[in-house]
Subunit: 592 residues, 2 copies
């Protein structure tokens, strides 16, 4: 079955994320929320008609490396041309360089759509997006003039090259080296691994963004510089010249996202790859940090997209497939959706997906406001909020992508294990999202050691106050349809607050205790935040049922989430606080 973008759910989530409020505060200039639905519908149509039908072919055929060139699956290059021609690559790109300058939040919703339709395809523009961000923020005017417009339109794609065999999470240990050339350019030598779309046949040129080390650079992350290295050299007029000395020398055989070529890149077999410095020498990591929030958010959105796709597929199957007779049903076999255990799985899928979406969109709006608001205090607060939410958006949403894809298989029973069904592909594709762009463990550590700790917990406190307000409104509604939602969310907020305080205290007194609790704390945060966001959406849906449809949909979803997922918050609090000792004593188990 194909994919249909869930427009009402997305619009409600954007609203809940604060898009309308940000527009009303004029942070988005003359952007009008009226066009949001139209953009999403158009994106949904393109995704259903062009991208989704190529998803399975990409999985089966995969990308291939032959004679030093990577070819993508049949139909992909054509789809990419249609994608750029329709302007989808330029949605949130800078207007000065041909972009449409739409809110990042709109592009976030679109990113969910592309990922849902075809995760491996949608990944390519995400890399280009990071390249655009780095170049726009740190590139020289000359480089911008030559490269930025082409990247914004998607005529050329970008890559981000950090990883080396010995330098994964620990980027500071990378060894690729750069030498200064007399003309102000550089020659780069080295090998990079796990480079997404490192080579492909969808565009005439590829613009590589490569981290390398100058001969006199200090050790560690303070000695890393960022270079722009085109696949084909580019003249000042934009014309393509000679092939540069950077080549795909290997391609990985992966669990999923087969359509996306993951390359080993070799530079310097022939005198060195010609590169141009982005930003200052030895400040390459700073450039990376510029784009980290958006890149991580985008991976979170891949989790949401895959989850949504898995939901739709499981739901369609559960409505068609008949087995057993449900309690109270008349003669014959019932569609399996009538069985409570199947309903429970589908509700779990829907609730987790909606919560992850709410968190990701809220992150996007925060990043938008941080970049666009006029008032510097508003920008600062939004930046702190965006920084806080980013690791949660990334890790919680990708964990959920995996969980929901797994439930999607389960709903299909034995058919779910058969590749032709398609449910298994979502499961395989989702698995990388918890790993790349900083593993989810790294996200949890970032949350605790940087985001929670920043300003002694100020960003967390501000968010907790807002969430507490939501809980009050749920309680004040006295709506029996909410069940015990208010109570569960109230408990969860208390747990989140206490766990955060405990972690902050331990961060200085006993950092390993805090690190041991990072992952359960992130899950506690995501569950509480997601639960409150869904409750807020349900309240909003009551007020605007004309816009979002039957509010019972959202109330039931919020209730399910609170009673099945957010309810785990007190246990997670205990795990954070009590669990550190056993982790610290793990050597007795692990090294025995």
């Amino acid at each position: 079955m194909t994919y249909r973008a869930p427009i009402s759910d997305m619009l409600l989530a954007l609203d809940g994320a604060g898009l309308r409020a940000a527009v009303e505060a004029s942070y988005y200039g003359d952007f009008d929320t009226e066009i949001t639905a139209a953009v999403l519908e158009e994106a949904g149509r393109f995704a259903s008609e062009v991208l989704a039908p190529l998803n399975r072919a990409g999985d089966r055929h995969g990308a291939r490396l032959q004679d030093g060139r990577v070819t993508t699956a049949p139909g992909w290059a054509d789809a990419y041309r249609r994608w750029t021609a329709a302007g989808w690559n330029a949605v949130s790109g800078p207007e000065d360089f041909g972009g449409q300058g739409l809110p990042l939040a709109i592009n976030a919703a679109c990113t969910e759509i592309w990922s849902a339709a075809n995760t491996a395809f949608g990944l390519c523009p995400l890399l280009t997006l990071s390249a655009i961000e780095a170049l726009a923020a740190h590139g020289s005017d000359t480089l911008k003039t030559i490269y930025l417009g082409k990247l914004v339109s998607g005529e050329w794609t970008g890559t981000m090259q950090l990883t080396e065999p010995q330098a994964g999470s620990d980027v500071g240990t990378l060894r690729s080296r750069a030498e200064r050339a007399s003309d102000g350019s550089y020659r780069i030598f080295g090998t990079k691994i796990f480079i997404t779309y490192g080579d492909h046949d969808m565009t005439d040129n590829i613009v590589h963004f490569v981290l390398a080390r100058l001969p006199d650079a200090p050790d560690g992350t303070r000695g890393i510089s960022l270079f722009l290295i085109p696949k084909f050299l580019v003249g000042a007029d934009g014309s393509l010249g000679a092939r540069n000395d950077i080549h795909a020398s290997g391609i990985e055989h992966k669990l999923g996202i087969h359509g996306s070529p993951t390359c080993t890149m070799t530079m310097g077999d022939n005198g060195g790859a010609i590169g141009h410095l982005i930003g200052e020498e030895n400040r390459g990591m700073r450039c990376m940090f510029t784009m980290m929030n958006q890149a991580r958010l985008c991976v979170g959105l891949e989790g949401v997209g895959i989850a949504e796709r898995a939901c739709q597929q499981a739901l369609a199957y559960a409505r068609e497939r008949r087995q057993g007779r449900a309690v109270g049903a008349s003669d014959g076999m019932s569609p399996i959706i009538a069985h409570p255990d199947v309903k429970r799985m589908l509700m779990q899928m829907r609730a987790l997906t909606a919560a992850a979406r709410a968190i990701c969109y809220a992150t996007a709006v925060s990043l938008d406001v941080a970049a666009r608001a006029a008032d510097p205090d508003v920008r600062t607060a939004a930046a702190a909020r965006g920084a806080l939410l980013t690791p949660i958006a990334k890790a919680f949403s990708t964990d959920i992508g995996n969980e929901v894809a797994s439930l999607g298989i389960q709903v299909h029973g034995g058919m779910g294990f058969i590749e032709e069904t398609g449910a298994a592909q979502h499961y395989r594709d989702a698995r990388i999202t918890s790993i790349y762009e900083g593993t989810n463990g790294i996200q949890a550590i970032d949350l605790v050691t940087r985001k929670l700790a920043a300003d002694d917990g100020a960003a967390v406190s501000a968010l907790l106050a807002e969430l507490s307000d939501t809980v009050k409104r749920v309680e004040a509604s006295n709506d029996p349809a909410f069940g015990t939602t208010g109570e569960r969310l109230r408990d969860a907020l208390g747990s989140l607050e206490r766990a955060g305080k405990w972690l902050l205290e331990r961060l200085s007194s006993s950092p390993n205790d805090a690190l041991a609790g990072a992952t359960p704390y992130l899950r506690l945060f995501g569950s509480t935040l997601g639960g409150c966001k869904l409750a807020a959406e349900a309240l909003a849906a009551y007020q605007s049922s004309a816009e979002f449809g039957d509010p019972r949909r959202y109330v039931t979803l919020a209730r399910f989430f609170a009673e099945t997922i957010a309810v785990q918050a007190p246990a997670l609090e205990r795990t954070v606080i009590d669990g550190a000792d056993a982790v610290n004593g793990a050597d007795a188990v692990l090294l025995a």
Copy 2:
């Protein structure tokens, strides 16, 4: 890396499961626990040397169907011959037919070992085991004389053929038909799907056990008969005759266990497959129930085996791979096992695996005692215990197999997503175990509607009393190394008891409420039971450190499990009790 059977862990778990007590009560005749370690070590050696090296080749090559014949991956047929020659197929087989008559509990530990080394290979003998059980319990003497010895030795393998396209979980809707022949045999017609090792090249003959319907049979499960259908007809002297009319007509392209052929079987293209009735006409489902407990337990053991394999692989990687510097470490990069977040993942893997093992072994001992004790009251109680534990052993352990395999990928970071690493294969292989032999949802429904409900909860009450005794002993130990283990398990027991009572009450008053809570109840049961079992093992390890090594290993594991997994019990209780309304109201979400 290869696999090493974790002998000490297995011996402690067998002890905790009651093997020693059962031997001392003479339930096992003259079996001596002294030989247990020797058997497991020998099995471990065979698994490491013969089966584990073929695991990846089986995954890459897969089984293939060509010209109506299935061939297994290179080396598999030879390994199978070595397996039967070494007597491994006959461990728990009946002694009258060449079996060794060892406890099922010993064979359970061996099953874990085979599954860990090579899940797809180890699956074949599991089907044969079910065939042996069915034939031994319900077959005529003639059939036993001809077939049973060959199945016990493994010279021939068995298949179990239930599923048809329209008849999955709902077996009663199967349509394969059987006609009576004048010589007392039957002719079978129809198509079966998802038949594990339906055809292969490892043995001269295959003995199919097929469910079909006689022309005058009543509808539903009361009209199903079980037939033995040999691939090649067999003379009274055991000699092979003509090819029977049952053929593999298709083979599935699956997410995992590629080495195991999953066949579509067609019967009757040429006059009908010649079959022999097992048991009575229309009583085929009763024969199936005979072997259901052991078959489901074996699938649970596959979960344990895959989890153990994933643990070992992740642990080895985490000790070698260096990234970042751990807090308090000296210069250079630390092995990632030194990072608390990685320790936490590895502890989670180890703790979940140990709990699932404890539950599965306890199930095996119960089934042994039910079959072997002289005292009928002891047999009845053990049978009730075994019946209660079976769905938990199956579903909880296979959920854990998936969870642990996923963590195994995560520990490997980016390398985990690359197929050559091997971590991804465990993840793919594990996924079917939650589905086949009754989906985990079916297990949960069985637990609530049959096992909990039997005798108004008597089996559950008896178990709760035992677990409560364990908790008292933990509390009485006053050992600070247990942390809050006693408190967490006490809470969990309370939750388990209350949730069970609520479900029992709802089963009659509002069955859909009970069905909605089945899956969280099973998880609650598994977490509580697993936590108590690990605590009991830790107490036992203190008493016999000479036998099981440093007891801190087991105390730390029990503590981690209690504080990180069993701690979720109160939330699961709430989900069972409060969550039913949202599930019952799910149509507002799912059909919107």
